[in-house]
């Protein structure tokens, strides 16, 4: 084979493979676009202010999704209120106090493994421990505790990244001035790490808001058109509501538009939370770069 022919052949082989890679990348983008298109077109017809703020009526075939939205907000906020202090504490230990050794390796291995445990197993665990053993029953608090444990690995990782971004000189400066370790952390390290931690917390919030499997077992109600007043009450939640409307309702065809609307509201909620988190992250990253 001549040199020119060899080069040509190589070029063709390369062109083929690059085209294959590019095709798959286009399919990836196309799939995402399709998912959004489908939900937006289906949901835009029913979504309105009254759809969001009204109670479901006539066995969920009419009315809105207000209690499900409120239930999701309640359970997510409660989840974050539990998991963020624990997660930040764990991250402070790992990043500020711990000496790199077997204990830390074991902790990190546990964190990574916890993030791989299926959400339904967390649900089962929460059902057995919080609902049955602790006697909370199927309730807002049982669901929130379960979700809190589930999002903990992400909160820890997020908080640790935030702490890592704080320059070492901050700590050295504090200690050199005679401050104790805790004084240094509280007054110098934490204030500059808080935006990063907020990012992690909001991402955890988004995850808790979109999660369904654990709350099926631990507290979500099929139909409960009231706003929960107590953490020991059951609650409606957007993702579970969508599941019910899509598969469990006696007239799934009739409630299909409401299911679309619910899906759209859920997607908007999750994307909004993620956008806020990313915005905070980028804003402070740029600010830190200027320092």
């Amino acid at each position: 084979m001549t040199n020119a022919a060899l080069i040509k052949k190589k070029r063709n082989v390369q062109l083929m493979w690059v085209t294959i890679c590019a095709t798959f990348a286009v399919i990836t983008v196309g799939t995402l676009a399709f998912l959004f298109y489908w939900i937006i077109v289906g949901g835009a017809e029913v979504i309105s202010w009254s759809f969001i703020t009204q109670m479901p009526e006539q066995n969920m075939t009419a009315g809105g999704i207000w209690p499900a939205l409120v239930g999701t907000i309640y359970v997510s906020l409660l989840t974050i209120a539990i998991s963020v202090p624990l997660g930040i504490g764990a991250a402070i230990y790992l990043n500020e106090y711990a000496k790199q050794g077997r204990l830390v390796r074991l902790i990190r291995l546990s964190i990574r493994n916890l993030s791989g445990v299926p959400s339904i197993v967390y649900g089962l665990f929460g059902l057995g421990l919080f609902a049955a053993t602790f006697g909370f029953g199927r309730s807002l608090i049982a669901a929130a505790l379960t979700l809190a444990i589930m999002v903990l690995p992400w909160v820890i990782t997020g908080a640790e990244e935030a702490l890592k971004a704080v320059p070492r000189s901050f700590r050295e400066g504090g200690l050199a001035l005679g401050a104790t370790k805790w004084q240094t952390i509280r007054q110098l390290v934490l204030p500059s790490a808080i935006p990063g931690m907020a990012t992690g917390a909001i991402l955890g919030l988004a995850r808790a808001a979109g999660e369904t499997a654990p709350i099926i077992l631990t507290g979500a109600a099929y139909f409960l058109p009231i706003i929960p007043h107590d953490i020991k009450e059951q609650f409606m939640a957007l993702p579970y509501h969508l599941y019910i409307l899509a598969t469990q309702h006696s007239e799934t065809a009739t409630v299909r538009p409401i299911a679309y609307g619910t899906a759209l509201v859920l997607i908007i909620l999750v994307i909004l939370l993620n956008s806020v988190a990313i915005f905070i992250r980028n804003y402070y990253r740029r600010k830190n770069e200027l320092l």
Partner: protein
């Protein structure tokens, strides 16, 4: 204040100690506070270990009744699951097979899809396109699984019913298709990380020898990133096998063995309704009587699921660490 001399005689050493004491003199309360905070953070830091142990311990504790009464071999090899019959059966084999089938089917789609996309993002796309594609992958990862399940129900299942001429499109293959979308972001991001971690001098050396871009990808980047890419597939497996809502909504949830006879062989049937381990827990867990044998049996199902994902994630973890170590030493 006298500056401590650098000479190492006893006197000056003492004065260093004294000076240091003065400098670091703090109230008892401050010191106590510091001590207590350190201990508090130690407790919180080890929380992840405790939670992991608690989950394992709890699954075993709650599941032990069923294991004692039914036997672990019946759970793993028993072919029928009739928890509420007068002669209850607790064979989880149909669920295990369904979980593996649906997951393997998903990976057959998601692995080439994810790896080729990762190669494109990491090696081929120009920088600006890369910056646009990365958020796309991130958005995939935040899609709530119940929404994807809904899409499977209304979009994929009618297509499957049409193509294969079935009366009901809720089958293993429907679940596989939507699960591949769920596993995709995991596979892309881990594979891409591992391709990015290949040192650029490896590639530059090959370019200098006259290799084309594709030859560099095929002969340098992919082999160097091999462990990480296998880890991406393993994590994708773990993600898919543990996924509940999409399979619950897309797979149809029949409790029979998902197999058919073909030429005297028993082979998995992808065109039939299946129920996975996760779906079974979700379906039966919401109204099971606490403390009953059935309740305990569900914890055994959870245990099987936990063991599968734990092993898969552990292997993935080892592979990622191995690649990091290998590339660092080189």
């Amino acid at each position: 204040m006298r500056l401590p001399s650098l000479k190492t005689n006893v006197d000056s050493n003492q004065s260093v100690v004294v000076t240091k004491q003065k400098l670091t003199q703090k109230s008892f309360v401050t010191n106590l506070g510091d001590y207590l905070m350190e201990k508090l953070f130690l407790v919180l830091g080890t929380l992840a270990i405790f939670i992991l142990l608690l989950i394992v311990g709890f699954l075993f504790r709650e599941g032990s009744d069923a294991i004692r009464e039914v036997g672990i071999s019946e759970f793993i090899f028993g072919q029928s699951w009739y928890p509420s019959s007068s002669d209850p059966r607790y064979g989880a084999l149909p669920f295990i097979i369904s979980s593996v089938m649906v997951t393997v089917g998903a990976l057959l789609l998601a692995v080439p899809w994810g790896i080729f996309t990762a190669i494109f993002i990491s090696e081929i796309a120009p920088k600006r396109l890369k910056e646009m594609l990365k958020p796309v992958v991130e958005v995939f990862a935040i899609f709530p699984s119940v929404v994807l399940g809904f899409i499977a129900l209304i979009v994929i299942s009618p297509i499957v019913a049409n193509v294969f001429n079935l009366s009901n499109g809720l089958t293993a293959i429907t679940a596989s298709v939507i699960l591949s979308v769920m596993a995709l972001p995991t596979i892309i991001s881990i594979a891409e990380d591992s391709l990015n971690s290949v040192p650029s001098d490896f590639k530059e050396g090959a370019y200098a020898l006259g290799a084309t871009k594709w030859e560099v990808i095929k002969d340098i980047s992919l082999p160097a990133a091999k462990s990480g890419i296998i880890a991406a597939v393993m994590l994708g497996f773990g993600r898919a096998v543990g996924e509940t809502m999409t399979v619950l909504m897309a797979a149809g949830n029949a409790i029979d063995m998902p197999v058919q006879q073909l030429l005297g062989l028993t082979i998995p049937d992808f065109l039939t309704s299946v129920r996975t381990l996760t779906a079974n827990i979700a379906i039966e867990g919401s109204d099971v009587a606490w403390g009953s044998l059935h309740y305990s049996a569900l914890f055994v199902v959870g245990m099987i699921l936990f063991v599968i994902t734990f092993i898969v994630n552990l292997i993935a973890d080892l592979l990622i660490n191995r690649q990091r170590g290998a590339l660092r030493n080189d």
